[in-house]
Each structure stands twice: as C-alpha cells, then as structure tokens.
Symmetry: C2
C-alpha cells in the first residue's frame, strides 16, 4: 500500500471505521459504527423539517416527523458497509476516503416501511425509480449537488426498506441522518441516504452524479461500468491478543486461542466461513452462529492452537449464491467493493517482547 | 504537509476527530467527540469490575460502580483536546495519529470528585503523585504496558477532577472508558485515563512510558524535554458555506457571512479571539459568548463581508495569562501541542462553480 495524500487524510480524520475489536458486539455501540459523510453534517430543526414525496405519484405528501412516527413501526438490526471498504488496500487507488477493512457496523434501526409511504402517495404506472435527496449539500467532481441516490421501484417496495428515525432505540444521531434516513438492507452504505428531505418518483433511471460518476465498477475512465449495489461477502475477525500501538500487529501467548468474528453478504445468507492461520495457503471451517437478524451479520468462531512464531491469520466467507472472498484484491478505478480477505499478523511468544510492565 | 504512511492510516481509520461543522453545538453529540485509543477498547463486565485504590494510603479501597455512584456526584461540561492535535501539519512529524485540527470535543461528564475518594483512602504524608492505570493493554515502543498516567497530588486534589461514570447523562460509552474514567479539566486528553482499574498513590514521580518516552516536548531524541500538560489556547471556526468532498475547500455566495467558532485554553480563561480574512496578515476582534462552563470552550462570532474571490480565513485565541496561537507551527519531535492558527480556504462567487443541480 502506498502513502496517503493530504486530501485522503482530511477525510480519514472526519470519518471513521469500527475498531475491529468491536466485532465482539452483535450490535455496534453508538459512536463506533462506521461513518462516511460526503459533505457536512447538516443542522436540521425537527420542528420545521418535513419529508416531501412527489414526482410520479397520485397524491403528493408532506410528512412531519410525528406523522411518520404514527405510521406502522419496524425495528431491524442491519449490517451496513461502505462501498469503499478496502479501498486503501488497492494500488493504485482512487483518491477518496482511504478505508482499510473497518468501514462496517450493525445497528438496530427503527422506522416505518418506505412501501407504506409510497402506497399512500400512489405510484404512477410509469414509475421506474425512486430518488432520495438528502439535505447535505456540497461540491463533488466540480458539480454542486445535494447528496442523492435512487432505487429501482422493485427494491423500494421491499418490506424491509425503512424510513428510519431511530438508532438503538433513540432518535437518530446527527451523524447518522437526523431526523430521517433511508435504510436498505443488503446494499452498500451509499444507498442509505441520510438527512432525507425529499422522495421523488421517477419515470426514467436517475442519471445524477452519485450514479453516473461515482459508485460504478470501472476499469478505466471511459468505461461505463456496472453500478455498485449489494454488499459482497466479507468476514472480519477480532484481532486476537494485544496490539502494538503503531503497527497494530498482535501479541499473544501460545496455547488455544478462540478466534471470533462476523460475516455478512448482501446477496444471500452466509453459508460458510473459513480460517487460514498461514497467510491463506491452508483453510479450515469456522463454527457459525445464527445471524443477529435476517439483515445482519453472522458470528463465527475458530479454535486456533497458537504456536510460537509470527503468523498471518485470514478469514473468508461464502454465501448461499456461491459468492466468496478473493485472496487478492480485484482492482477497479473507484476502489469499490474490495472484499479480499482480511490479514492479521500475530506474534506468538511465551515471554512477550520487552515485557517490562510495572 | 507530506504523505501519510500506512501505520498512520491504521490509526486514522480507527480514531476520529470532530467534524468541524459540529463546533456549532455547545456540547458535542455522542459519537462525534474526538477519540484516541492507544490499544484496543477493552470489554469490561460492570458486575465484576472494581476500582482498586492503593499505594501510599492509610486505607486501601475496592469500590464497585454502585459504590462510586453513591458518592457525591458532579456534572461538568469539559472541553478535551488530544495532545497530538495539529501533528499532521508539522513537517517532518512523529509517526503517530495524524491529526489535522479536529481532535477536540466537549461533553458533560458526570462522576464523583477524585478528591473524596483519595480522602477516604487517606494520602500518606509522603505522597507526591497519583497514578491512574487503565484496563487497556498493548505494546508501545517495544514495551508491553497497561496505559497509565500520573498527576501531581496538588492537581489530583482539585475539586473539578472527576472519576466519571456518565457522558451526556448516560453510562460511559465503551470508547470513552466504560465503566469509569478520569476527567481532568484543562489538561490534554492523555491525562484523562479511560477504563480505570487502579489508582496508586506514589511517593516519587512516576517514570512510566507515557511520561518519560511519550508526551514530552522535545527537539531531539536525547533531549529530556518538558512534559506535555495543559491545553494551549486554540480557536476553531465552523467552515462556512458548503464543502468540496475531497479538498474540503469551501464555496460561498458573496454578502455578509457570520463566522462562528469556539475557543479554549487549559491555562486561563479565553480573553479574545481574532479573525483574519486574508491568510493572517490583518486581524480583527470577534465577539465572545460566555463559556459553556468554567471548564469548556467559549463561542465567538464575526460578521464577514465576503467579496468574490478566494480567501483564506484564520482565527486565533488569547487567554488571560497572555498565551496566544502562533501563525506558524512550532515544531517538536513528538508532534504535540501544535496550536498554530486554523486556515480555511473559501471560494466566494455569485454563480457557484459547476452549479448544475437538479
């Protein structure tokens, strides 16, 4: 991996991943869920705020937060991952938020199904996509814009797509989209538009910046590419032992170490997780737990007989559709969806290096 | 500023600063306060956890969380800043967490004064320092250690030094030191030991890693240097207008823009804040608000007549002891306490660049 530029650093100090030891928790504590904010976190006055629903609908809607909260409510634990997770492991890579592997989190979101709001508005027969516009505004690639992303109508009408006004049973934190955000289980994070202001039903595919310029799997600038949509399978482990502050290499005593982690896929249920303790040459199956929810990650564990030496641990998940994680990254121009296997270096020794502790 | 290494990036994706637009809030919302974790966030079982108080005391103590919560409680809004804030603006710089200027936050902490617990234990006549040992453990500079820092007895007995078990009226978040942390108003963040396990009263100055190797103002490796203690004055502004995603440069329409920010010093009350709209050549005074608390930052505002063009905005604070912020960074080996003035580039134009919005 090469050096990181000042522009990337400016993003890395604002945004943050989930420290991987928090994989021990089925639900990520508030403040530790990964966070990516394209522009600024907007200040929203809940009393003045309204959600507008328009475009190709029979009855335009203007809904207050209280009106949304009076609609049927659903709570669902959802694993959410940034489409750029793994970007900084690509070489060369797009200049953007330089994630290693930690851009993930699982939260219980509470909201009302989008479907109910769309049915109340009445989709026109020619509706093809639903556009979600956030209140966050900025410049990107020379274009001034509000952050906005669209979903095909079939996805927007899924029962588990929520207009969420709570996280972990409390009002949305400002950084997670207060007062309302979209939550689309299975899709990468960019789909889950925060600080929702407007929903517009479209009779043609949306061609905005975040669809045509960003979030496409491309090999070259003039390549049209495929849109980034659902999360590819990924498994991550809690790094065992104790860390070195700088290198983040791990230190562990010999003996049985139970490795633990979590795995998810936006395409199909996770079917297996394998662990390698020799840098990806040999693999053995991990034990799987039940998923935290139908939309959330699945815990796994693996008993490792740690012998003295320096070991590179890896894990990889496969889903029921046959998708798995590559050992080496698959490059693309935007640095999206790099789900290559995690690598954790562990130094096993009976007397820890420099073990001078009070 | 030079490029950032992989080791620095590993820290920057785990830890995070406060996005500067959140300076608008007197109290930083949970999850947006800056965070620096040396090792891992430890998992602590509140039912098993106890605080041990020993060393040069008359009566050793073992206190449960419930026992600590039954002692007199104080709530105090405290501005806390990382000693490494500004490090990435130094050249060359120590390889460590590469902060720009955002490693700050203000929270309302609730706890019991440390003084009461020390008086209960009874300090020996020869007590000179009080050592605070966290439950977080790791390697640093080749030395295995629990994170620990000491305070001179006179500081430890200040009325406003807290053993805090709540933030924003709720139990401490895991990343902020659950179940108990030290809070020392005025001192840089490294003082505020998280995940407290043990308090040890010492009859000589503590010579551990975080005092003798880290957190010293040095010009060279063989320089003994001075310890890093209290926060130097700093002022930061909410970047006005809207940002560019990558460069974080700002875009604004011409006219009156009210610049707002906050300022603090760990040495003395803030007495003035000045603003420059020409990169630090000319300065004019800002209007000051009352501090959020005696231990917290002070808001300020400045009406700027923004004319078309590219402007570099700066702000600088001075405290009642005559300390101020330098226009250029003062270099030191560890990259500590760089309180040089913030610089925000704003592009003012009537028709915004590429203003193609739907």
């Amino acid at each position: 991996m090469g050096e990181i530029s000042q522009q990337e650093l400016q993003l890395a100090t604002r945004n943050h991943g989930m420290p991987l030891e928090l994989l021990r928790e089925p639900l990520t504590p508030l403040g530790l869920h990964y966070l990516l904010v394209h522009y600024d976190v907007p200040a929203v006055d809940e009393d003045v705020w309204r959600l507008a629903v328009g475009g190709r609908v029979a009855r335009e809607q203007t809904l207050s937060l209280a009106e949304l909260q009076a609609l049927p409510a659903v709570s669902l634990a959802v694993t959410m991952e940034c489409a750029g997770n793994g970007r900084a492991l690509l070489e060369p890579r797009a200049v953007s938020q330089p994630w290693l592997t930690e851009a993930v989190g699982t939260a219980e979101w509470t909201g009302t199904p989008l479907r109910g709001v769309l049915e109340r508005a009445g989709l026109a027969a020619d509706a093809v996509e639903v556009l979600f516009t956030g209140l966050d505004r900025g410049m990107e690639g020379g274009v001034e814009q509000s952050y906005e992303r669209a979903l095909p109508v079939a996805e927007a009408l899924r029962d588990d797509v929520l207009l969420a006004y709570a996280i972990g049973g409390r009002p949305l934190a400002p950084q997670h989209g207060f007062p309302l955000r979209l939550v689309v289980p299975g899709w990468y994070g960019m789909t889950n538009v925060k600080w929702l202001g407007r929903i517009t039903v479209l009779d043609e595919p949306f061609a905005g910046y975040q669809h045509t310029r960003s979030y496409r799997m491309r090999q070259a600038e003039d390549d049209e590419g495929e849109p980034v949509t659902r999360m590819l399978p990924r498994s991550l482990m809690v790094p065992p032992g104790i860390p070195d502050f700088l290198s983040r290499e791990r230190f562990l005593e010999p003996g049985t170490a139970v490795l633990r982690g979590r795995a998810w896929s936006g395409w199909a249920p996770i079917e297996s997780v394998e662990v390698s303790t020799d840098g990806g040459r040999g693999w053995a199956p991990a034990e799987l737990e039940e998923p935290v929810s139908p939309a959330a990650w699945r815990g796994w564990s693996f008993a490792w007989e740690a012998s003295a030496g320096r070991h590179e641990l890896c894990c990889r998940a496969s889903d029921a559709d046959g998708r798995s994680q590559p050992v080496d990254p698959r490059w693309n121009l935007g640095g999206y969806a790099n789900n290559s296997v995690q690598r954790v270096v562990v130094n096993v020794s009976a007397s820890r290096l420099g073990g001078a502790d009070r």
